[in-house]
C-alpha cells in the first residue's frame, strides 16, 4: 500500500471537513473490507484516509413502529442480521446480510460500506478504469471475460454490476439514505443513490466528494411481506450471481401491490416495474411467481458469456416471491 495520512475524527463535521473535492484524493474508511483491497491494488491512491469509526452517532440501530428503522452507517452486517426487529419486520435485509457467508467480513463490514463498495469487475480491479476500456476507449468487457457482467442496463459504456447485497432490499422497502456534507444533511431515496457512470472519473453513487453516508432510514413495512433470494455459485464466500428482493402488500394470498428489485445484474440495482405490475392483483402461486420472473427479465440482453444469468435472475424473482408470501412480516 502507498503511504497516506491517517485521520480519525470523532464528529461528522470534522470528517467531512477532511474530505476534499477530488475523488480518490481522500477516502473514507469504515470496515475497510473493500477500501484496503482497492488501495493495495492501486485502484485508488488516496493521500489521506479518514477513519469514521470513532464517530459515535454513526453507530447503532433503532426501531419505532411509527417511524420505522434507523440503521447507522457503521452498523455491521453481523449486527444487522442478528437484530430481532430486522429479522421479524425486514427479513429481506437479514437474508441479504446473511448471504455474505464470512464471519470475518460480516463482523467488520458496515452497511454504509456495503452501499459504497466499488464494483468487483475484474477489469476495474485490474486497473483498466471503472468503464473497463482500452486506450482507444473500446470496452474490454464486450469481447472479453464477461460472465459476471451486466445483463440489464448494459447498453454501455458501463457493464459492471452493482455489488451491494443490501441495496435491492433497501430499494424494495422504500428506504432513504441520509448523507452529510459541509452544507448539512440531505436524504436521497435508495433507488436514486446508485447511478450509472458515463465516464471513468465519475462514481457509481450519488455522494458528492465531500459527503458521507450517515444512516439508512427504512419506513415501517405496513405489513408488506418482504424477502431476498440470492443465487450464488457456492454457498460460501462469493458475491451473488443474481438476486431479487421483493416487498409485497397482500390481502390473504392476493398481492395488492409489489416492489421487485434485482441485484448483481446491472450497473445499478434494477427495479422491474413491468414485473411489479404483472404481479399486482394476482394470487401467489408457483406459476404466477415464475411468470413474474419471466416478466422481470424481458428486457435482458446477454453478453457473449453471461446468458446463464438471465435464467438465474428469473429464478431469483420467483423464489423471492414465494419466500415472501410464505414468510411473515
Amino acid at each position: 500500500m502507498r503511504a497516506f495520512e491517517y485521520a480519525s475524527p470523532t464528529t461528522k463535521e470534522q470528517a467531512v471537513a477532511l474530505l476534499n473535492n477530488q475523488w480518490g484524493e481522500t477516502e473514507v474508511l469504515a470496515g475497510g473490507m473493500d477500501l484496503l483491497s482497492l488501495m493495495k491494488d492501486d485502484v485508488t491512491r488516496p493521500g489521506r484516509v479518514i477513519n469514521i469509526k470513532e464517530i459515535k452517532e454513526l453507530h447503532g440501530l433503532q426501531y419505532s413502529p411509527s417511524t420505522g428503522l434507523r440503521i447507522g452507517a457503521l452498523v455491521t452486517l453481523q449486527e444487522l442480521l442478528e437484530n430481532e426487529t430486522v429479522r421479524k419486520e425486514y427479513p429481506s435485509l437479514a437474508q441479504a446480510a446473511e448471504g455474505v457467508t464470512s464471519p470475518q467480513i460480516r463482523d467488520l463490514g458496515t452497511v454504509g460500506g456495503d452501499l459504497c463498495q466499488r464494483p468487483r469487475c475484474w477489469y476495474f480491479r485490474g486497473g483498466f478504469g471503472l468503464l473497463a476500456q482500452d486506450s482507444s476507449g473500446k470496452s474490454l468487457v464486450l469481447e472479453g471475460e464477461n460472465k459476471y457482467h451486466a445483463i440489464l442496463g448494459n447498453s454501455g459504456p458501463a457493464y459492471f454490476v452493482n455489488p451491494s447485497s443490501l441495496a435491492p432490499a433497501l430499494i424494495a422497502l422504500g428506504a432513504k439514505i441520509r448523507l452529510f456534507g459541509p452544507k448539512g444533511a440531505r436524504d436521497v431515496a435508495a433507488g436514486q443513490f446508485f447511478v450509472t457512470p458515463k465516464t471513468n472519473q465519475e462514481r457509481e453513487y450519488a455522494l458528492k466528494t465531500n459527503e458521507i453516508v450517515t444512516e439508512l432510514l427504512v419506513p415501517p413495512t405496513g405489513g408488506a411481506r418482504n424477502a431476498t433470494y440470492e443465487v450464488r455459485q457456492k454457498e460460501a464466500l462469493d458475491w451473488p450471481l443474481a438476486a431479487a428482493a421483493v416487498s409485497l402488500k397482500m390481502s390473504g394470498k392476493n398481492v395488492t401491490s409489489a416492489r421487485i428489485v434485482l441485484g448483481h445484474v446491472a450497473p445499478v440495482p434494477w427495479p422491474v416495474p413491468d414485473a411489479e405490475k404483472f404481479l399486482a392483483g394476482k394470487t401467489v402461486s408457483e406459476q404466477v411467481a415464475q411468470d413474474t420472473g419471466g416478466a422481470a427479465v424481458t428486457g435482458a440482453k446477454r453478453l457473449s458469456q453471461n446468458g446463464y444469468k438471465v435464467q438465474l435472475a428469473r429464478v431469483a424473482v420467483k423464489r423471492a416471491i414465494l419466500r415472501a408470501a410464505e414468510g411473515g412480516a
Partner: protein
C-alpha cells in the same frame, strides 16, 4: 511523507506498544514489528482467512485492518491460543487428526475455530463449514479440518 504513529494495544493478554506507518496492515505489524509470525499471509485481500486473528472478541482478517486501527483493542493471535506448556484442544485435534499438510492455512483455521467453539460449543457440521467459509485450504480438502473441529468440540 506521513510519519509513524504510536499504537498501544493488547496482544495475547500483554500490553504492547509499537510504531507503524498508517499504511501497514495489522498483519504486517504483527509479523514484521512484533515478530508474531504465526499469523500467515495468503491472499492479502480478505479472501483466504490465513491472517485471521481475534480482535475485541470477533474474528477479523488482519490483512484488511490497519495497524493503527488496533489502538486500544484486545487481540488474540495463534501464539495466544495454547495454554502454558499445553496445546489447546483444537490444536491437539488438528495434530492427531492430521488436519494439515503444508500448514499455511492452519493458524487461521485454528483461531477461527476457537472463536466458533467459544460461542457455540456444539456446532453441527454445517455450522462448522459455514463458519469456516472464509478460510481456504488448498491441501486437505477440508474434511479432516471439519472432523478435527468436531472432535475438539466433543472434548
Amino acid at each position: 511523507m506521513p510519519g509513524k504513529m504510536r499504537v498501544e494495544t493488547t496482544v495475547n493478554g500483554e500490553a504492547v506498544e509499537f510504531l507503524c506507518e498508517p499504511r501497514q496492515s495489522l498483519l504486517e505489524c504483527l509479523r514484521d514489528i512484533l515478530s508474531l509470525t504465526g499469523t500467515k499471509e495468503g491472499c492479502n485481500d480478505g479472501n483466504c482467512g490465513a491472517c485471521t486473528v481475534i480482535m475485541d472478541g470477533r474474528i477479523v482478517t488482519s490483512c484488511l485492518v490497519l495497524g493503527v486501527e488496533a489502538e486500544g483493542s484486545q487481540i488474540t493471535t495463534i501464539e495466544g491460543i495454547a495454554g502454558a506448556g499445553r496445546l489447546h484442544p483444537i490444536q491437539q485435534a488438528f495434530l492427531e487428526g492430521a488436519a494439515l499438510q503444508c500448514g499455511i492455512c492452519t493458524p487461521g483455521f485454528i483461531v477461527a475455530a476457537k472463536a466458533l467453539l467459544d460461542e457455540n460449543p456444539n456446532p453441527s457440521e454445517h455450522e462448522i463449514r459455514l463458519w469456516l467459509a472464509n478460510n481456504l485450504c488448498r491441501c486437505t480438502g477440508y474434511d479432516k479440518i471439519v472432523r478435527a473441529v468436531q472432535s475438539a468440540a466433543a472434548i
